[in-house]
């Protein structure tokens, strides 16, 4: 091959490589996986019951190291003192907050409307607030930047579309949604790598995130036998089976062991 041909061939390869690299449109919204006119039964509101309960921690959680925000002076100033990651949130009695409770199994082919209201996820003091949000598939969540610094919001789902958007101070909120149910989608800010959050996406409305007192309630459940799962960021998951009859209310308790943290996620 002559010298000229060699250069032409390499240039052609490069041109092909560049032409294959367009800017991916980040703002497109996925079509929901569920059909517009669902074929399934609806819940009879006159027969529904509820499951309520409490989540507690057996033992004392190992203390978390305070976050080092020295990489961003604004973040240090925005917080009056050291900030501890909200991985394990307990009160004095050992009640466990930030636990996601949901119906894992037993709902059959019920169909549900997607809520119209948007779930807020705020960035305050270079932390996500709340630490965990839960939405239904197709339901909008709204990410706001209350800080006077730039963030990027980067959810990393496995079954939904990954995206990464920047949000400068004072800019309008970012609205988005996920089309498919998926548990514990990590959300990160790579500008401030300590900022982590989770988004849970469900196909039914039977989920709750425990308050600091560990309490939760799943309302308007149709009669049936359900597997209820509790997910905690550090301690993993627990399942319980509960059967509720028409208009019946049941109580379930979950107790995590502080000495047995779950294995960290593979990613």
């Amino acid at each position: 091959m002559s010298n000229r041909c060699f250069h032409l061939a390499l240039t052609a390869i490069l041109a092909l490589a560049i032409s294959g690299c367009g800017n991916k449109e980040n703002t497109t919204t996925e079509q929901p996986a569920t059909p517009a006119a669902p074929a399934g039964k609806t819940v009879d509101a006159t027969t529904t019951g509820s499951v309520a309960g409490k989540v507690t921690l057996d033992g004392k959680a190992a203390p978390e190291k305070p976050i080092n925000m020295s990489a961003e002076p604004y973040c240090q100033k925005a917080n009056s003192g050291p900030v501890v990651p909200p991985t394990v949130v307990t009160d004095d009695k050992g009640d466990l907050g930030n636990v996601v409770i949901f119906v894992k199994d037993g709902l059959g082919d019920y169909v549900f409307d997607t809520p119209k209201d948007s779930v807020p996820l705020e960035q305050k003091g270079c932390m996500y607030s709340p630490h965990i949000i839960a939405v239904m598939a197709g339901q909008t969540f709204e990410v706001k930047n209350d800080d006077q610094t730039t963030h990027n919001i980067h959810p990393m789902p496995k079954d939904n579309r990954e995206w990464n958007k920047s949000q400068a101070p004072g800019t309008s909120p970012i609205d988005d949604s996920f089309a498919r149910p998926e548990l514990a989608i990590p959300v990160k800010c790579n500008v401030h790598p300590w900022m982590k959050s989770y988004i849970f996406v469900f196909k039914n409305p039977y989920y709750a995130i425990t308050a600091k007192d560990g309490s939760f309630e799943l309302k308007n459940l149709p009669p049936g036998t359900y597997t209820i799962e509790a997910w905690q960021e550090k301690y993993g998951t627990q399942d319980q089976t509960v059967t509720i009859g028409p208009k019946e209310s049941k109580t379930v308790q979950f107790k995590f062991n502080a000495a047995a943290p779950a294995a960290p996620p593979a990613d």
Partner: protein, 319 residues
């Protein structure tokens, strides 16, 4: 054949120094890239080629690492462009072509970096980006060697009748280290588990020690080979220890809320010394090919004359 010289007078010490400077800047670029990954800042700038829609983004948090990496990449691209032009004018078609390949590699690397930003999927895009970085690095290191006075002084050919020949052994070692760096990059970016990289570490440790020892035993009196053999030994030893420490830091980091200083230092050092180990192994292999007569030539000469070929050098083989 790695005969590169067609017009020796055009391959000046200045050209060699420029190639060396480009190699040195590439080391800094590798460090900047490793800092981005270790500080978990790869996605801190969601757009490319601009950053936050601007030439200069707000320089806060992880953006500083990502932006510094882009600036370094731009600088190395400019240096490579100048180097390619100088090589195209030096009178050697081989060097001209290699300079052009280096330029293509650095541009492709920039495009891959952009794909990493825009398309996510770090297991694929970041791993390929890391592998191409090593290919570009050894290309500019090779150019530094090819423009050196030693290379262009047509060093006398040595005989290496022992088995395995150093040419073969050093080439296998360089290839194994390259594969090991692919496994390391794959682990770092989530494409593979750690096991292949750990097995690879023992393989390349053995091969690199064997190669270095072979250089010392057979060609200890050849300064060029001996020097790079010693460096290869030093780098592989350091890299092995750094690997153990870096893995310990990775295990700890999984539990941490944010990258710790220890984790960043150890992982960046492991990436850098890995690149230097590869460079040393490539230089040993290329130098062996330059300085040692091909086995086939020796065998052919033996078959014709009925006696082993003798080295035409004053620095004969001790083997």
């Amino acid at each position: 054949m790695l005969e590169t010289t067609t017009n020796e007078s055009a391959i000046t010490p200045g050209l060699h120094r420029f190639a060396l400077a480009t190699s040195a800047c590439t080391v800094l670029l590798l460090m900047a890239g490793a800092l981005v990954t270790s500080n978990d800042a790869a996605d801190s700038v969601p757009d490319w080629p601009l950053a936050y829609g601007k030439i200069i983004p707000p320089l806060v948090g992880g953006i500083r690492y990502e932006y510094a990496h882009r600036l370094m990449a731009g600088s190395v691209a400019i240096l490579t462009l100048v180097l390619a032009i100088l090589l195209a004018r030096c009178g050697s078609r081989f060097l001209g072509n290699l300079g052009f390949i280096a330029l293509i590699l650095v541009i492709a690397q920039a495009v891959l970096g952009g794909m990493r930003v825009l398309f996510h999927n770090p297991a694929l895009t970041a791993t390929i980006h890391a592998i191409l970085a090593q290919i570009f690095f050894i290309t500019v290191v090779s150019l530094s060697l090819f423009t050196s006075r030693w290379w262009n002084s047509a060093p006398p050919k040595l005989d290496d009748p022992a088995s395995p020949p150093l040419r073969t052994l050093s080439a296998i070692t360089a290839a194994a280290i390259f594969v090991q760096l692919i496994l390391g990059a794959g682990f770092r970016h989530g494409a593979f588990g750690i096991l292949p990289h750990i097995i690879g570490a023992f393989v390349v440790l053995f091969l690199a020690i064997w190669t270095s020892r072979t250089v010392r035993v057979r060609f200890g009196n050849v300064k060029q080979l001996r020097r790079w053999g010693v460096l290869l030994m030093a780098f592989i030893g350091t890299q092995f220890l750094l690997g153990i420490a870096a893995y310990g830091a990775v295990v700890q980091e999984i539990k941490a809320q944010q990258p710790t200083t220890t984790y960043v230092i150890l992982t960046v050092a492991h990436v850098l010394v890995g690149a230097l180990t590869l460079a040393a192994s490539v230089v040993v292999a290329l130098s062996a090919f330059r300085a040692i007569r091909n086995d086939a030539t020796v065998s052919a000469a033996t078959a014709v004359t009925g006696s082993p070929a003798t080295g035409s050098s004053t620095e004969g083989s001790r083997a």
